[in-house]
């Protein structure tokens, strides 16, 4: 960042973060894997077979392209004219790709891609492909970029963090730091409709641990099982952002109008949870909310079928006043002054474990996920998962499931069978039903060991997937059991992760599909059921 020309620093920041544009920018490249791979094949003059071979060796398209072009360079194919690809060339190409829509857009995108990738070195190709496909996966994130900017330009880290948080644009922050120094960063203002990264909660084990961590007194809020949203309101304009900071306003028109009409403030940045509710007003399982994100054409019908409701829980800005440095208790107080008709998440402040326990039980009783505890004096720290917010959820009993197939992973995990199909045994017939798939929970060592074991049990291969004899039992944690058309049994574990490998356990002692159904049914003792279709 120090060495690049002034005009390029912004773009360098976005590219290093693996993005074509700043985070708040709604433009998308809309470049598919198929387009990129066909361009690579064409430029390198290789066939499908060569590409697939490189993919199997490397695990992702960026690295495969690098490999192919390096190989080609080994053969020393010279170019007629050597022209260095510049950052501004790349920036211009990315912009023109984003502008291409409608008929013939795919072909025009291909031409632009051919032209930039045609000028790039093998290692440039690798990262360009990753950026084009949104698969940077370098582990380099915004937090590290803030540190880098602070060091590169000698600006205090806190000043960088704050400027980044308010402006939502690290490119602008870096540019200001390079051109005008520290003082200009202090002057950077909050920009509406550029979402702030959400503050996150750590997991807690118990209520007593929570009280102790928060110094004996804490605020507890229901943890709703919905979608966390950040809402920006400026006069008559309201935008809703998801936890991943994408604009989801069009999926929640009634939330937009509720805020427009109900909020008693001209300007505000709010946080809340949107949940799907049943006919009696009690919460529905999370998956029903996700139906909102299906094809747009269906949006109207879906809207009528599944009503949603917004519950507010935090206030980060109100009428020109930024509240992120104010303590939680004050922010909540200010929220209570302006929320009007819009409900806020139920909350108590307590010093007493018993009181906390009955509040937790009430949350579970009403069909919520659990509780979040918030340190009364804590400020809002965007993007940070700290101890000031702690979450406690009802734990569903772990299941012992059997691995019936596995897939080789991508990137760093390409050498390992790292994505596992988890199955429950049929207690009546001699067969297994897949109920989930996960790549979470195991260490590198365990994965490598498990790969060896599974390879010995292999019965059939389909591309990267290996079907194995049902021998290995794993203990699996999950957040919920959902209905799902994906698997034959009609059920799927949500957020499944492997807690340990049970080499000691016989697959015949593993949990049954009947047991999985029982747990699924049990969820509805508290949660509202969505019509009769859910019944088995």
């Amino acid at each position: 960042m120090r060495d690049v020309p002034k005009r390029d620093v912004k773009q360098v920041v976005y590219l290093l973060l693996g993005r074509p544009f700043p985070r708040w920018d709604e433009r998308t490249l809309d470049v598919s894997w198929a387009i990129v791979s066909s361009v690579i094949k064409k430029l390198a003059r290789v066939d499908d077979h060569t590409l697939i071979e490189a993919l199997n060796k490397t695990g992702d398209l960026g690295a495969a392209a690098e490999e192919i072009f390096r190989e080609r360079k080994l053969k020393k194919q010279a170019s007629l004219i050597d022209k260095e690809l510049t950052i501004s060339d790349v920036a211009r190409s990315l912009e023109s790709i984003a502008e291409l829509v409608g008929e013939g857009a795919r072909e025009r995108k291909e031409r632009v891609l051919e032209s930039i990738l045609g000028q790039a070195d093998p290692d440039e190709i690798k990262y360009l492909v990753k950026i084009l496909l949104g698969e940077m996966r370098t582990g380099f994130n915004e937090g590290l970029m803030e540190l880098a900017i602070s060091r590169a330009f000698g600006v205090d880290t806190e000043v960088v963090r704050r400027a980044s948080m308010l402006s939502g644009d690290l490119g602008e922050v870096a540019e200001n730091a390079k051109l005008h120094g520290s003082e200009s960063l202090r002057k950077m203002k909050f920009r509406f409709f550029r979402p702030i990264r959400p503050m996150l909660a750590q997991n807690a084990e118990s209520l007593s641990e929570i009280l102790e961590t928060h110094g004996g007194r804490t605020a507890l809020e229901f943890k709703l099982d919905g979608m966390r949203v950040q809402i920006h309101k400026l006069d008559d304009k309201v935008r809703i952002f998801s936890r991943r900071l994408t604009d989801v306003t069009s999926s929640f028109p009634e939330v937009e109008s509720t805020v427009k009409k109900g909020l008693q403030a001209r300007e505000a940045v709010l946080e809340g949870e949107v949940i799907a509710v049943g006919e009696d007003g009690s919460p529905l399982p999370f998956q029903y909310l996700m139906r909102r994100f299906r094809r747009i054409r269906e949006a109207d019908a879906t809207l009528r079928a599944i009503p949603v409701k917004l519950f507010l829980f935090d206030l980060l800005l109100v009428d020109g006043e930024i509240l992120i440095d104010s303590p939680y208790i004050e922010r909540r107080e200010r929220l209570s002054e302006i929320h009007g008709e819009i409900p806020v998440v139920e909350q108590i402040i307590t010093e007493d474990v018993e009181h906390a326990k009955s509040f937790f039980e009430k949350a579970i009783e009403q069909g919520h996920e659990g509780i979040i505890a918030k340190n009364l004096n804590s400020t809002y720290t965007p993007g940070v998962r700290g101890k000031n917010w702690l979450k406690l959820k009802e734990v569903l009993e772990p299941l012992d499931l059997v691995i019936v197939a596995a897939e080789y992973g991508h990137g760093r995990r390409h050498k390992w069978l790292s994505d596992y199909y988890l199955a429950a045994r049929d207690g009546e017939e001699d067969r297994f039903y897949v109920v989930g798939k996960t790549f979470k929970g195991l260490t590198d060592e365990e994965m490598s060991e498990l790969t060896e074991t599974l390879e010995k049990l292999a019965v059939r291969r389909e591309g990267r997937r290996v079907h194995v004899k049902p021998e290995v039992v794993v203990e699996v944690l999950y957040n919920e059991i959902q209905r799902s058309p994906k698997y034959e049994c009609g059920l799927a574990l949500r957020f499944a992760r492997i807690s340990r490998i049970r080499y000691d356990k016989d697959p015949r002692e593993s949990d049954t599909i009947q047991r999985v159904r029982e747990i699924y049914e049990k969820q509805f003792e508290k949660k509202s059921r969505y019509r009769v279709e859910d019944r088995f």
């Binding site: 430029l43 003059r45 194919q77 010279a78 170019s79 007629l80 004219i81 032209s115």
Partner: protein, 244 residues
């Protein structure tokens, strides 16, 4: 112009390297000079106005065309069809009128032109060989049987192509004045290696435009392949593979 086939053959020859290209149209001639996306090969084409039965251009203009699409349209031309190209500047479209047993008019969009100017490579060539197009086409096909690259070398008497594959090899010798090699001028014995995939595409695509072709090269420098066409030029440059 009275023969649509002439235009089709040229577009075939251009389409082998590029999908999209910018024609520069001046009161005197039509020009196109483009590199393939990976910048390994270039096509340099010109047709002077005298080739056409009728040619009207009052001021120079550039039009960027999807060559692949244009070729599809031109392939519809029947034997003996005449062709008329007109630019509708207002609607930013190129109209292609084919006249035969009946009249067909296709129209296609003018695209946003790329800004980049393509310079001509400046190379001193030490070898110049005039070969029948059929002869060089056959030789390239022979070499492509055994390998994906071919070395071309020349001394005063002969031109030799060598292809070494993993298993098989091929040597093709052409003596000056005998058979395919019509003429050979050598300032300095030279040798260079080229990708057969490019070389065979270029020669195949351009073979319909001329019965004779001229190649010029120097050691480890790009090769220039020239197809003398009526009232114009069709020249290719191809970058070499540099053997370690």
């Amino acid at each position: 112009m009275s023969d649509a086939k002439l235009l089709k053959d040229i577009i075939v020859a251009i389409a082998t390297l590029i999908d999209e290209g910018t024609f520069e149209i001046t009161p005197e001639a039509i020009n196109l000079r483009e590199m393939d996306p990976s910048r390994v090969a270039m096509v340099d084409f010109q047709w002077s106005k005298s080739l056409f039965d009728e040619y009207n251009c009052s001021q120079p203009t550039k039009i960027c065309i999807n060559i692949t699409e244009m070729l599809k349209l031109l392939k519809r031309a029947g034997k003996g069809d005449s062709v008329e190209l007109t630019l509708d500047e207002e609607r930013r479209r190129l109209n292609i009128k084919l006249r035969g047993k009946y009249v067909r008019t296709f129209s296609m969009p003018i695209l946003e032109a790329a800004v980049e100017e393509v310079p001509t490579p400046k190379i001193t060539f030490n070898v110049k060989a005039k070969i029948t197009t059929d002869g060089i086409k056959e030789a390239i096909e022979d070499a492509a049987l055994v390998s994906d690259h071919v070395s071309i070398e020349a001394n005063e008497e002969e031109l030799i192509m060598r292809a070494e594959g993993d298993i098989m090899g091929a040597t093709i010798e052409m003596r000056k004045g005998e058979g395919a090699l019509l003429d050979l001028e050598v300032k300095e014995p030279s040798k260079a290696t080229f990708s057969l995939s490019y070389l065979s595409d270029i020669i195949k695509a351009a073979s319909a435009t001329s019965e004779i072709s001229t190649i010029e090269f120097s050691t480890d420098m790009p090769i220039k392949i020239d197809f003398p066409i009526r009232e114009g030029k069709l020249t290719y440059f191809l970058a070499p593979r540099i053997e370690a």
